[in-house]
Structures are given as C-alpha cells and as structure tokens.
C-alpha cells in the first residue's frame, strides 16, 4: 500500500528529472507554464468536480496572486518563500471575499456572480495603472531566488513548477479524501439531506473555496516569473473560461486530468497556432467532441484503455 502510494510521486519526480535534463530552454518554460496553469485548473477541479460549483471567475484568484507576487517582487525582491506566501495569502483572501459574494445562490446565479466578481477584479487590475501597469502589465521583474541561489533559469523554474504541481496534487488528493472533501461531494449530490445531517452548505463550500484559492494563489505567485511578465489577461474571465475548457478536456473530477487538459490546450495553442490561424476552431471542436462523446474527459478515456476490466 505504502509502496504504491509512493510509486506515483516517485515516477513523477523521475520523469521530471529526465525532462529537466533533456529539454531545451523553450520547452522547459512551456512545461513550467503548463504545470502552473494546470495547478490552477486542479484547484478549479476541486470546486467543479467535487462541489458542483461552476465558478466562471477562477482567474481572479490566480491572476490577483500573480499580480500580488509581481508587485511585491519589485519592492522586496523575488525570494521564493516570500512569493509563495504572498500568493497563497492573496489567493485565499480573494477567495474569501469571492465566497461571501457568490456562495449565496444556486447554480446559474453563482456562475453570473462569479463572473461579475472576476470582472471587477479585472477592472481593478486594468485601470489601477500606478500599481498594476494597466493594459501593459508589469515587466522587468527580478528573477526568482532562494537565499544565495538564483532560480531564474528555465530549468529551475520547471523544477519548481513541477514540485508545486506534485505537492498540489497531493494536497488535492488528501482534501478529497478528508471529511471536508467528502462533505463537499455530499453538498453536490444531496444538498437537502446534507443540511438535514447538520452541515451548513455555505461553510462547507466556503472552506473548499479557500483551499482552492490558496492552491490557485500558490500557482499564480510563480506564474509571473516564467516569462518575467504579468498582464491583465491573467485575470480576465476568458482565462476562467479557458480553465474550464482545459478541465473538461482533461476530465472533470479526475485530479491529474487537470494537467492533461492544460497540456493538450496549450500544446494546441502553441503548435497548431504556429501552423494555422484556426487553432481556436480546433480547440472548440475538440472541446465539443469531448463533451458529446467523452463527458468524463481524456483522463478517464485513458484509464478505460489502459486498465480494461479493472474499475478505476
């Protein structure tokens, strides 16, 4: 049991080491981006896949943490623990504010309220030029560091992003297995019965949103250092919608599917986008096909292919 539990992270670490040793600069930065955005998508999966809460404002958590880290880095220097701390604090704080606003109403209202909330955060980032740089965003950030070591090169960024992704995957797994995670699934499946059992829907969902906010914030805090830039599109609702697309392609409710979906989406964007202008058409077709044919996403499709007969 403990061996199989350790096997997956070990395999992940080994794969990471191999990739880090063999890949070029561009690929490493690209992979780091996949891992960071994938972590944010993973945190969205906690809300959508386990709580049934379709938030169309998730980029607000990720992006505001990215801005907070970038602004702090300009003044304090980019020390890794400080950045992570600020990102997690910002993500959690924004999630708390968001929760107070959006968790009062049912599915469609929640969607609209989350969208409105996210767009308000975007408006602040876009118009508060003195602090956020407005439409230009923030450039010229110092490279990430940890004490005497500089972590600004592509290889260290990739390793950091990989460690964060693995750590988040572990947190997400234990969250889902925890009493809170089980209660969250209960509030999705049987809200009335859960209330009869003494759970307060709001507090279960609110705490889940805080966890998701902290995770998205951690990912957001490293994101600016991949390209040494953060712009308002990292807060915009189209990124929230893109995260949902990534999640669905990968597989709602399957935790590692979040990374798979992010990788597929960003690879389409980068490689098909270089070859034709119609990459959005490809993404849309893939997305609709996934919804129509494989509503559980690519992750469960893989599982079904690899372990025939065994229940996943």
């Amino acid at each position: 049991m403990s061996l199989s539990r350790l096997a997956l992270p070990m395999a992940g670490l080994a794969a990471m080491a191999a990739v880090a040793a063999l890949s070029g600069d561009f690929q490493l930065r690209f992979l780091a981006e996949i891992l960071l955005i994938g972590t944010a998508v993973l945190s969205l999966d906690l809300l959508i896949g386990f709580g049934g809460l379709i938030s169309l404002g998730h980029a607000a958590l990720f992006g505001s943490a990215a801005y907070a880290a970038a602004i702090a880095a300009q003044h304090l220097g980019a020390s890794l623990p400080v950045m992570l701390g600020i990102g997690i604090a910002m993500g959690t704080a924004v999630a708390a504010l968001m929760g107070l606003v959006i968790l009062r109403a049912g599915s469609l209202f929640l969607l609209i309220l989350a969208l409105l909330f996210g767009q308000i955060v975007w408006e602040i980032c876009f118009h508060w030029r003195e602090v956020t740089g407005g439409a230009d965003g923030l450039r010229g950030l110092p490279p990430l560091s940890l004490g005497p070591w500089a972590l600004g090169d592509a290889r260290s960024l990739f390793v950091l992003a990989g460690l964060l992704a693995l750590g988040s995957l572990g947190v997400a797994r234990s969250f889902v297995a925890s009493p809170l995670g089980r209660a969250l699934i209960g509030t999705r499946e049987q809200p009335i019965r859960m209330q009869a059992l003494g759970y307060t829907l709001f507090s279960v969902r609110f705490r889940a949103l805080l966890v998701a906010g902290a995770m998205a914030g951690a990912a957001g805090s490293l994101y600016p250092f991949v390209n040494l830039y953060v712009g308002p599109q990292s807060v915009h609702w189209t990124l929230s919608a893109t995260m949902i697309i990534m999640l669905v392609i990968g597989g709602v409710g399957s935790l590692w599917g979040a990374f798979l979906g992010t990788a597929v989406y960003l690879a389409l964007q980068t490689y098909v986008g270089a070859w034709t202008d119609r990459w959005q058409l490809c993404v849309g077709l893939l997305f609709v096909l996934t919804v129509l044919v494989m509503p559980q996403g690519l992750a469960s499709g893989f599982l079904r292919l690899t372990r025939k007969g065994r229940t996943p």
Binding site: V101, S107, L115, L116, I244, I245, Q280, L281, P295
Partner: protein
C-alpha cells in the same frame, strides 16, 4: 444640462432596447426549457454580420432585419436538432459546457468568414444624421433602435400573453407533462421557441450593428450582458426582463457618464448588490416548490 441628461437617457434607452431583445430570447429558452444557451451571443453577432453585409449590398435596407431574423432562426433550428435537443434533460453544467464550446467554434468560424476587423453598417439615408433635442445632437438611428426594440418587445408580450400559442408555451413552462396529456407536441413547441429565441438574437444583432458595430469578441460581451439581464430580472418573468434590461442599460450608460474610468466596476458592483439583495431576481415569478 437638461439636454445632456436627456441625451444620456436616450442612450441608455437604446442600449436597454438591445439588451431587452437579446435577453428575451435567452430568457424564454432558459425559463421554458430550463436550458442555458451560452451560444446566444453567436446568434447576435451573426445577425450583426448579416445586417452589415445586407446593407452594403444595395438591396432594400429594411429587409435586413427580417432576413437576419430568419437566417439566425434557421441556424437555431439546425442547432436545436443536433446537438442541443439531446441536452435538454442534462444538468446545467453539461449545457453550459456544450453551448460554450459551440460559441467558441462559431466565434472562430465568423472570424474566418467575416474577418477580424471592426465592421460598421452603411446606414440607409433615412436613418442617417442626427436630431436636435434641447440643442443637443442625437443620432437618429438610436431613436429607431428604441422604437423598433420596444415595438418588438410589445409584440412578443402580445404573443406570449394574448395568444393561444403563448398560453400553451406558458402552460408548458409550469407543467410540461400536463400539456403533453392535452395532445400537444412539446418537442415541436420547444423547437419553435428555440427558433424564435435564435431569431431574436439575430434581430437584436442586426439592430445593434448600427450602434455597437460588429467585431470578433462582441458575441461574448453581448452574451454576458444578456445573461446578467436575464438573471437580474428573475427567471421566467417577462416584466422582470424588461425591468432589468432598463436597469442594466441605465446602470452601464450612467456609470460611463459619472465614473468614466471605472464604469464597468461601478455597474458590476451595482448588479452584484442587486443580485445579493434579491437573489431570485427583480421580479421573482411564483415558484412551485416540490
């Protein structure tokens, strides 16, 4: 000052008229079929492009609006057949995902077919120019939008409230099963309502092209505003949608006047406050609790 205020009120009214027409299309599908159609913005933008090209073609200008209505209604009918019909009984999440995915496809197809530049229609001579109100110029076309928009809304209200067909639709909203037992094919009814909704989207796009132009990305902007209108108004209530179209139109227009820098911020905050104060919408229809 008086003139300035009057102009802004008219601006808000013309914007509200567009929101009303788009929102009504969305609202009727949402409340009748319990179906969330995030591809509604695509119908709007398609209608805009049809109007722009029709008005440039030299054909009789007034035909642009019925043509946009019919063309988008036809598109809606095809879409309803496959794949939307299969999703009526599915949960909201799947509907949201499917229709959002479709809207991504349509957005890129329209960018492909109509180009990425901003297209403005050549307005017919009759509707060009300005009228002077309190010595302030106001585009004549916007008066036309207000007139046409509210006339269409009135016609819709008559259709839904005063005709037998409307009574059937309303009956199907409250109890589909009973309507079926009366021998009415609700599947065809739903298809017709969906066509009407798509056509309304296209018609409002055709009307709105003279005010907002047509460009990639407009579909999403309009969709969001229409969704807000419907949700703020309260699902399934005609009066609520009218009221909230006015509220949203005025809030967006006047926040641009008062806080030009933070216009959307102010308007969105106001709408969040409204939704928090009245979580069931401005006019909550009487609901049967099961």
């Amino acid at each position: 000052m008086m003139g300035y205020a009057a102009i802004q009120v008219l601006n808000a009214l013309s914007f509200s008229a567009l929101l009303l027409l788009t929102g009504l299309g969305l609202s009727v599908v949402l409340s009748l079929m319990n179906f969330v159609n995030l591809a509604h913005g695509s119908f709007y933008l398609l209608g805009s492009y049809i109007a722009v090209h029709w008005l440039a073609s030299g054909a009789p200008w007034w035909m642009a609006f019925p043509v946009a209505f019919l063309a988008t209604a036809l598109a809606g009918a095809l879409l309803e057949r496959f794949p939307l019909r299969a999703f009526y009984a599915r949960p909201h999440l799947m509907q949201v995902l499917l229709t959002y995915g479709l809207s991504v496809i349509f957005a890129d197809l329209m960018r492909w077919g109509f180009g990425a530049q901003i297209l403005s229609p050549e307005l017919p001579e009759m509707l060009q120019g300005v009228v002077f109100l309190f010595d302030m110029p106001f585009p004549l076309y916007r008066l036309f939008i207000i007139g046409a928009g509210f006339a269409m809304a009135l016609a819709l209200w008559l259709l839904f409230d005063r005709t037998m067909w409307g009574a059937v639709v309303r009956a199907a909203v409250s109890d589909r099963g009973i309507v079926e037992t009366l021998g009415i094919d609700t599947r065809r009814l739903f298809a017709a309502v969906f066509m009407l909704s798509a056509g309304l989207g296209g018609l409002s796009g055709a009307l709105g092209a003279g005010m907002l132009a047509a460009y990639p990305g407009l579909d999403e902007e309009v969709l969001i505003l229409a969704l807000i209108t419907v949700v703020v108004g309260g699902l399934g209530s005609f009066g609520g949608t009218v009221l909230s179209a006015l509220v949203v139109g005025f809030a967006l227009t006047f926040s641009k006047v008062w806080f030009p820098e933070f216009a959307n911020l102010a308007a969105f905050s106001a709408m969040i406050a409204l939704l928090l104060a009245r979580p069931n919408g401005l006019v909550a229809p009487p609901l049967r609790q099961l």
